[in-house]
């Protein structure tokens, strides 16, 4: 203590004014430098963080609210299983390790899950290798909105309207397959190449094709991973144990495929990963093939088109379709805005049994504490804007009307039996209207932005500074 005192007094005893020139500045600079580094260390911490996947705490919270809590030990078991099966954001893994003896390289009938080569290009840190290939594609292009875990909860997500897609439910909206089926590979690629008009999802058309393919594979990987995790959580919450041994959860591979790559048999329930992948692999069976259109969309001014638009308008407001009940009598999307999508089903369930706004507020905050975003109701599309999220080709609008939108309230006007298109006779197809009539509704919807009502107020005629 005495020595310490001596130093301190000695230091403070030195008057600033009497120091040699430059020493004061050197001392001050050194102090500021020390202060800067001290702040840096304080803010960064001494531990180096390895990127990790966040567990689906919102799903655990849903189960907890339903009276089926998942204890911390059970959560740890699930997280360890997920880590073992799927790896980390830096090192993705195929759920079932590829045993060279089991894989018959020449047989087209086997599949193990993911193309790990593509996953390795998308995963991990961002850098360019010696040949100029870009690595870390997901983190470079996608993670800031979609999140490292693919949960639609990246740092930018709270500021976007609509929110980025949460892949973990395995539900995708804009696809060519019917109902609750998974999107095909081409559907995902189309979303990446075209973007989603009217949202913050940009187009990645300028990326080389191999990079887009790698990203599509990684999105599928994150979706399968997320859905596996949700199934494990649900089973654990309901039964208090895992659905089977780890070998069973990751088992069921290789999936036997036929010549077109469609699985022949559905896996057992305890083969969780295989069941999820089975849905992805059998998606091409559910593609909606439209019936031939009686009108030629290349000639919008033709008489046939005008007749089709008139028929479509009648159908739009008919009792059979009642499109105006949600899209509004003026088709501006103001008919009904009370529903939530499947990504906010917890908020939907909350609203049906609760009237007390304070209670709803409390539960919403409870969910936001575990990472949920602020819930928003889903708004039916304003059809007068000419912005179509799922694509603006006539076939895209046909598919939206035929199958509805998965994850949202938009219903299907067609049925699963009619997806074969021309090969299925009208009698077998069912649905609320004949499939040819869907084309009339498509014509009407595509013509709406050109109606005088959609054009807005008259344009300014110009002034002396901007003559027209």
């Amino acid at each position: 203590m005495k020595r310490f005192n001596k130093k301190v007094t000695a230091w403070r005893g030195v008057p600033w004014g009497r120091l040699r020139f430059g020493v004061k500045h050197r001392i001050l600079r050194a102090s500021f430098a020390n202060l800067f580094w001290a702040c840096f260390v304080v803010l960064a911490g001494c531990q180096a963080e390895v990127p990790y996947f966040r567990p689906n705490l919102v799903e655990i919270e849903i189960e907890q609210d339903a009276g089926e809590p998942v204890t911390e030990a059970q959560q740890r078991t699930i997280n360890e299983t997920m880590l073992a099966l799927f790896g980390t954001p830096d090192h993705p893994a195929n759920p079932f390790p590829q045993d060279a003896e089991i894989v018959d390289a020449t047989s087209p009938l086997t599949t193990f899950g993911f193309d790990v080569g593509k996953l390795k290009t998308s995963a991990g840190r961002v850098y360019r290798d010696e040949e100029g290939n870009q690595h870390g594609l997901f983190r470079l292009h996608c993670a800031h909105c979609h999140g490292v875990t693919g949960g639609g909860d990246g740092p930018t997500a709270p500021f976007l309207n609509p929110y980025p897609r949460d892949y973990r439910q395995g539900v995708f909206k804009y696809k060519s397959t019917f109902g609750a089926a998974k999107p095909t590979h081409d559907d995902l690629k189309r979303v990446l190449v075209n973007g989603v008009a009217g949202t913050s999802m940009p187009s990645f058309r300028l990326l080389p094709d191999n990079e887009i393919e790698a990203l599509v594979e990684y999105v599928r990987y994150l979706s399968v991973r997320g859905e596996t995790e949700i199934r494990l959580i649900e089973y654990m919450a309901a039964e208090g144990e895992m659905p089977g041994s780890v070998g069973e959860i990751a088992g069921g591979f290789p999936l036997a495929l036929d010549e077109e790559g469609i699985p022949e048999e559905e896996p057992e329930e305890e083969n969780v990963v295989a069941s999820v992948l089975y849905q992805w692999k059998s998606a091409p069976l559910q593609v909606i093939r439209p019936v031939s259109s009686p009108i030629d969309y290349a000639n919008p001014d033709s008489v046939a088109m005008q007749a089709s638009i008139a028929r479509g308008e009648e159908l739009f407001y008919s009792k059979n379709l009642q499109c105006n009940s949600c899209h509004g009598d003026s088709a501006q999307g103001d008919g009904q805005r009370d529903k939530y999508t499947v990504w906010f089903k917890w908020r939907e369930d909350l609203g049906t049994n609760n009237d007390d706004p304070a209670e709803i507020d409390r539960v919403v905050h409870q969910f936001m504490e575990v990472g949920a975003l602020q819930p928003r109701t889903i708004h039916p599309r304003n059809l007068r804007l000419g912005v179509y999220r799922g694509g603006r080709r006539p076939i895209d609008v046909y598919r939206r009307i035929y199958s509805g939108i998965n994850g949202g309230p938009m219903p299907a006007q067609g049925t699963a039996s009619g997806i074969g298109g021309n090969e299925v006779p009208d009698g077998e197809a069912g649905g609320s209207i004949r499939r040819e009539q869907i084309w009339d509704v498509v014509s009407y919807v595509l013509s709406l932005p050109y109606e005088p009502l959609s054009q807005g107020p008259p344009q300014r005629q110009g002034s002396k500074y901007t003559p027209r």
């Binding site: 990790y52 009276g67 041994s245 059979n320 369930d349």
Partner: protein, 314 residues
């Protein structure tokens, strides 16, 4: 002057030392932990355990088997489960539904429409629409009459913008004929967790066939996007051991296997599976996630009188 100053400095010496010590401790602790703590990390997995699981998979072993809960018990006969579920205490009426569409059809005469979440019979206090079903029974433990495989079609109607069966258990092999008896379109959205989901528009007067495909562990919701207040529940099960309580709260499941440990699950729309603390036959019972454990004797009828206090359901 220097003497005065040095005396002041001497007095403050210890305060400075203590302050500096606190400063270094706080900086040190924050430096070690850092400012960016992720509170959404969840239960951090043990890397060593995960590595071991991966090695187990790689060696193509089946892995540590999950302990088989069902000890080899022999069924000794058939028994019956009966009872009544009542609400004790005064229940306020169900919430008013906000009919904001198609009022001519959905709210004829302008009468207020109430929800069906908690349906208490004013005469007996019985709670309707509680579904009870037996879990984990298959093979020879299932009676002939309740075996899986019934293929008949159940008529499922909606009128005046209400589903006429609010909670309906059914077998996975049965099919629903979902009819729309109103003069406006309804789109019936059935959100299944494991089986087939549909979301199809049903024009007035027509119907749509729905088959569940797989059994569910708890009821799945049926709702309408056009009329958001419409809600009902469906429970597809493989075998036939299910029942919903009647208007007066009574229920009966016949021909349950006797002599083996049974697990009967209860579910109510408001409570979900949360039956903790509910008394059965006047005694506090052990409900585990809404399940009650039973072991019937052959030809025995077990009576369960479940009393739910009104405060729990509010």
């Amino acid at each position: 002057m220097i003497d005065q100053r040095s005396r002041q400095y001497q007095k403050r010496r210890s305060c400075v030392a203590v302050r500096l010590l606190f400063f270094f401790i706080s900086v040190g602790s924050v430096a070690v932990t850092g400012c960016n703590r992720d509170n959404l990390r969840g239960a951090i997995p043990d890397q060593a355990v995960a590595k071991e699981i991966r090695l187990t998979l790689a060696s193509s072993d089946v892995g540590p088997a999950v302990a088989d809960q069902s000890a080899s018990q022999q069924r000794t006969g058939w028994g019956t489960l009966k009872g009544q579920i009542r609400v004790v205490g005064a229940m306020p009426p169900d919430r008013l539904l906000n009919i904001n569409k198609d009022q001519a059809v959905c709210q004829p005469g302008g009468a207020p429409v109430r929800g069906e979440t908690v349906e208490v019979d004013p005469a007996t206090g019985g709670l309707a629409n509680v579904v009870l079903y037996a879990l984990d029974l298959d093979g020879e433990n299932v009676h002939e009459g309740s075996k899986a495989g019934k293929t008949d079609s159940i008529f499922y109607d909606q009128k005046v913008c209400r589903y006429l069966s609010h909670v309906l258990p059914m077998q996975t092999t049965q099919s629903l004929e979902v009819k729309n008896s109103d003069t406006v379109s309804h789109n019936t959205q059935i959100q299944a967790k494991r089986g087939r989901s549909i979301n199809e528009n049903i024009p007035p007067g027509s119907s749509v066939q729905y088959s569940p495909g797989k059994e569910e562990k708890e009821p799945i919701s049926v709702n309408c996007a056009v009329h958001p207040w419409m809600k009902a529940y469906l429970l597809p099960r493989d075998n036939g051991y299910f029942v919903t309580t009647q208007q007066d709260g009574s229920f009966e499941i016949a021909n349950l296997p006797a002599g083996i440990d049974l697990s009967v699950q209860a579910w109510q729309e408001k409570l979900g599976k949360n039956f903790d603390g509910i008394k059965v036959n006047g005694q506090p019972a052990t409900w585990k996630r809404g399940r009650i454990a039973l072991n019937l004797k052959p030809d025995e009828t077990v009576m369960l009188d479940v009393e739910i206090p009104a405060s729990v359901l509010e």
